[in-house]
């Protein structure tokens, strides 16, 4: 039974009509047309689908779209300001923090969300935070380097 749901994504309203069982990730991809949020496991481990929900990083595969009614959702598509990349995106580019790029949107949203909440995380805290997502290509070295570089710029 489809239900109307109002999502606010990257500052824009999306009035969609979805089954209650539809996950936030599927709704973002299928109904809002925002395919930057990727699905790597659909059981909440890999974190490729991480988005910000009222500022908190969450797994979009573990939320139902109807749970997010009227909440503020931010996805990777909302990071850049027009042509201008977000400092986190720029740092990933400069430090080679991505290879295939599939996990990248999740890492970007995780790191941006965490650093907006706590800008002065130390190295251990950064690693602890980044250990919530999986990357299969980079061995994480350059992801950490990128997040550190962006942290300096975001402060």
């Amino acid at each position: 039974m489809k239900t109307p749901v109002k999502l606010r994504v990257n500052g824009q309203a999306h009035e969609i009509f979805v089954e209650p069982r539809k996950t936030l990730a599927d709704a973002l991809r299928d109904d809002c047309g925002l395919t930057g949020t990727h699905l790597g496991c659909e059981h909440g481990v890999c974190g490729a689908c991480t988005v910000l929900l009222d500022g908190d990083p969450v797994r979009a595969c573990l939320m139902f779209a109807i749970q997010c009614q009227d909440m503020e959702i931010r996805t990777v598509e909302g990071l850049a300001d027009g042509e201008e990349l977000h400092p986190m995106q720029r740092a990933f580019w400069e430090k080679h923090g991505l290879q295939c790029g599939f996990c990248t949107p999740g890492f970007l949203m995780l790191a941006v969300g965490a650093l907006e909440r706590k800008p002065d995380m130390d190295e251990e805290e950064l690693k602890e935070m980044l250990s919530s997502n999986l990357c299969r290509c980079t061995g994480y070295q350059n992801i950490l380097a990128a997040v550190r570089a962006a942290q300096a710029e975001m402060q």
């Binding site: 089954e19 069982r21 539809k22 991809r29 299928d30 047309g33 925002l34 395919t35 930057g36 949020t37 990727h38 699905l39 790597g40 496991c41 659909e42 059981h43 481990v45 890999c46 490729a48 996805t75 990777v76 598509e77 990071l79 850049a80 990349l85 995106q89 990933f92 580019w93 400069e94 080679h96 991505l98 290879q99 295939c100 790029g101 599939f102 996990c103 990248t104 949107p105 970007l108 690693k127 602890e128 980044l130 250990s131 919530s132 997502n133 999986l134 990357c135 299969r136 290509c137 980079t138 061995g139 994480y140 070295q141 350059n142 992801i143 950490l144």
Partner: protein, 768 residues
């Protein structure tokens, strides 16, 4: 010079903005395919019942499609046929039996749940040792002893050399099953175009041309009725080179129902897509008094699962092991038997490194064990046995080009400060802490072409790469390549090669790949080959274009070709400021062909093919670990890589390949294992059971590069995509064994999980 620069990747901006285009992004809103899979490892299909409203495809619907029959033309090989959908019987858990097509993925999943397949289960054989047991059931009735390949080789004079040696050191190494686990699982989208009677298949693949050939052959259609696009591919590591039966059904369904359909694999399905490793090597090294390896006897067994992967076959692991087991060590007497053993487990396909992580693990454990037995330092025994003179022809006839085997070992000893570590280690042992160091020296055969693949005797001889290169009238260059990168940044590094050759900016070079309509036939990206082979073809093409431009410029500038210099977008007469912009030459080539030198064709298009024999990279990995005696847990504290892949076109990308490779090697060594129960049910079907490392498990990887000048590759670049994965397990298991040496423990099985280590510790303590 652009080669050698850490240039940011041209691939990145779209991926960073969430504007990548992966197959699931293309598949929105089309018909959805969901597969019904076997819940049993072995059994007879009695009936298939589906809800009336469902569109269900079974083997009966695909009667006109022949089974897949990957071939090796060798007497010691028994081919096995795989039906696209299981027919009459199931042979492994997860095997596709039927496909349901519905308007949405949700509905397809619901309907697939309602398809009832009645199967009479039969006793399966899952484990490698069990499959070789005389009493084991036969996976395929025509394959005696479940042995699909039984290859062997003995060099003349082996017996005398082997038996005459002073020391015999035996090692029994076991690697458990693994899954490549790309973050994006597999998937494909088939769009049917009724006007052209043609399907465009967008597939998460490493080899679009190979896939087009396979599908056209099976469906009995000309390749012109199929276009294959590899969009952004979310990691592959080998798993996406082999043919997915699901792709065949997807294209068949698009043609049959004349509509767009897609199959998007989920994580659970991906765990039974293709596996790898699952090997056992029993090796005896015969050493002389001085620690020199004189002869080696090896028994290699690979559990290749239920079927053979297309196109490279289930022979890829045992045959690579047979040919490459001698590794970087110089010896002349070798006897090997290498078997591919069928079982009711998921089929095996190449995964980063293929057999070489296990080859290296075996050899390097052997070297450490021999060193301990003879009272020689592990570094010293390697120095005495490593190849030193090049070109070196191995006991199996492989030719190693210039390398730095001893130098990389010596350099890594320096970097880790071995003497100091040994002192720290003695102190730690006294305090009851168990730290250890492990070395792994190895060669990595990369960038090999037709001659190497021909030796494999497959139906299809892979090897060469071709490029089409054109400069358009505006002076920008487009290179269309048959390679199909999926995260390696090849568009960036190839543009660096072209830029140097033509004296232009890499920004003015566009690399096109992953589309059979736009690129020349090629073999795709795998086996650490693209920088060497596709890079070589690109360099040849760019050199030819430069020659054409020089001819035109020579006429325009009234100067000899030899006096011309390509620099910053211009062709200059050396030693003067006289010159002409390259884009003016380009425009002239197209728009003023009346001004071209006699005999010069209008336009600027060239084609080039490169087909090298192959080149060997080499490296030394060193792991420093600490083992917790209580829990058996291993922490990798330091990891050092001294790597020689010749010229690094983009060192930033090269380092990234090493980082990622080592992370996967650490995963093999310590964490990742697919577990079957005795009934053949896969127990590890989520990322909570199967454990790719997070940032918490991967230490900082310290990399140092050496550069051997090799004439085996025209760019000077050797491949390095797999090296990290090849070397790391050996370094780590040697380090664990070294840490636990006061207890006399040897660790010869991957992954070295806390459970396994703890068991060894308990056994040792019980024995004390």
């Amino acid at each position: 010079m652009w080669v050698g620069r850490r240039l940011r990747r041209v691939e990145d901006p779209s991926l960073l903005r969430g504007e990548g285009r992966f197959v699931a992004d293309v598949a929105r809103g089309c018909g959805a395919i969901r597969f019904v899979r076997s819940p049993f490892a072995r059994g007879r299909i009695l009936s298939i019942e589906a809800p009336e409203e469902a569109t269900v495809i079974t083997a009966d619907d695909l009667a006109e499609i022949p089974p897949v029959k990957p071939m090796l033309h060798r007497d010691d090989f028994i081919p096995v046929e795989q039906p696209i959908l299981a027919k009459e019987q199931v042979t492994y858990a997860g095997q596709p039996i039927a496909a349901v097509i519905a308007p949405t993925f949700e509905e397809a999943e619901d309907l697939a749940e309602m398809v009832f397949v009645d199967i009479e289960p039969l006793d399966p054989v899952v484990d490698l040792d069990h499959a070789l047991d005389e009493t084991a059931p036969l996976v395929h009735p025509h394959v005696p002893a479940n042995t699909v390949i039984d290859a062997s080789l003995t060099t003349p004079g082996f017996d005398a050399a082997f038996h005459g040696a002073a020391y015999h050191v035996e090692i029994d190494v076991r690697s458990r099953r693994e899954n490549a686990t790309p973050l994006e699982a597999r998937g494909s989208h088939a769009a049917f175009d009724p006007r052209e009677n043609r399907v465009t298949l967008t597939a998460s693949t490493q080899g679009p041309h190979m896939l087009r050939t396979a599908l056209a052959d099976l469906l009995g259609i000309p390749e012109s009725e199929l276009r294959v696009i590899a969009p952004d591919v979310g990691g592959a590591f080998g798993q996406k080179y082999s043919l997915a039966m699901e792709d065949v059904v997807t294209v068949w369904a698009a043609r049959r129902f004349r509509r767009d359909v897609a199959w998007i694999e989920d994580r659970r399905e991906n765990f039974a897509s293709f596996h790898s490793r699952d090997q056992r090597y029993i090796v005896t090294g015969a050493f002389d008094e001085s620690g020199k390896l004189r002869a080696m006897r090896a028994d290699v067994r690979c559990n290749v699962g239920a079927y053979s992967c297309y196109p490279v076959t289930c022979g890829v692991e045992p045959l690579m092991a047979m040919a490459e087991l001698p590794g970087p060590y110089d010896f002349r007497n070798y006897a090997v038997r290498s078997r591919a053993v069928a079982s009711n487990a998921c089929p095996i396909a190449p995964y980063r490194g293929v057999s070489r992580p296990v080859i290296t693990l075996t050899l390097e454990r052997l070297m450490d064990k021999a060193a301990a037995r003879m009272g020689i330092d592990p570094v010293e025994i390697r120095r005495r046995n490593l190849v030193r003179e090049f070109p070196y022809t191995s006991v199996t006839g492989l030719v190693y080009d210039q390398g730095s085997y001893v130098e990389s070992l010596d350099r890594s000893v320096q970097l880790v400060d071995l003497e100091r570590f040994r002192a720290d280690q003695r102190a730690a042992w006294e305090q009851g802490r168990y730290i250890g160091i492990g070395f792994s020296t190895f060669s990595e055969r990369t960038g090999y072409g037709t001659s190497a693949f021909a030796a494999r005797k497959m139906d299809i001889t892979l090897g060469y790469e071709t490029i089409d290169l054109a400069m358009d009238p505006s002076g920008s260059v487009e290179v269309r390549v048959g390679a199909s990168p999926h995260g390696q940044g090849l568009r960036t590094s190839l543009s660096q090669l072209v830029a140097d050759e033509l004296g232009i900016d890499p920004k003015d070079v566009r690399i096109v790949h992953g589309d059979t309509d736009r690129t020349p036939y090629g073999w795709g990206t795998f086996a650490s080959r693209s920088m060497v082979v596709s890079g070589g073809a690109t360099k040849l093409g760019a050199t030819e274009l430069r020659r054409r431009l020089a001819d035109i410029a020579s006429e325009t500038l009234e100067a000899a070709v030899d006096d011309l210099q390509f620099h910053e977008g211009k062709v200059l007469v050396r030693g003067t400021d006289v010159g002409v912009p390259i884009r003016d030459l380009a425009r002239l080539a197209y728009h003023r062909s009346d001004k071209l030198p006699p005999g010069e064709e209008p336009g600027l298009r060239v084609k080039a093919t490169y087909d090298p024999a192959g080149t060997f990279s080499n490296a030394c990995h060193v792991a420093l670990v600490e083992v917790d005696l209580e829990t058996g847990a291993v922490a990798v504290q330091r990891f050092v890589v001294v790597e020689d892949a010749g010229v690094l076109v983009n060192p930033m990308i090269a380092d990234g390949q090493v980082h990622g490779g080592v992370a996967q090697g650490i995963a093999s060594a310590l964490y990742e294992e697919l577990v079957y129960d005795s009934d053949g049910n896969l127990l590890t079907t989520s990322l909570m059971d199967y454990l790719p490392p997070t940032i918490a498990e991967v230490p900082l990887i310290e990399i140092d590069h050496l550069v051997s000048e090799s004439d085996a590759t025209i760019t000077g670049a050797k491949g390095l995509g797999e090296g990290g994965t090849i070397g790391a397990p050996a370094a780590i298991l040697n380090a664990i064994t070294n840490a636990l040496s006061p207890l006399g423990i040897e660790v010869n099985e991957t992954p070295a999980t806390p459970e396994r280590i703890q068991k060894l510790i308990r056994q040792a303590q019980g024995a004390l």
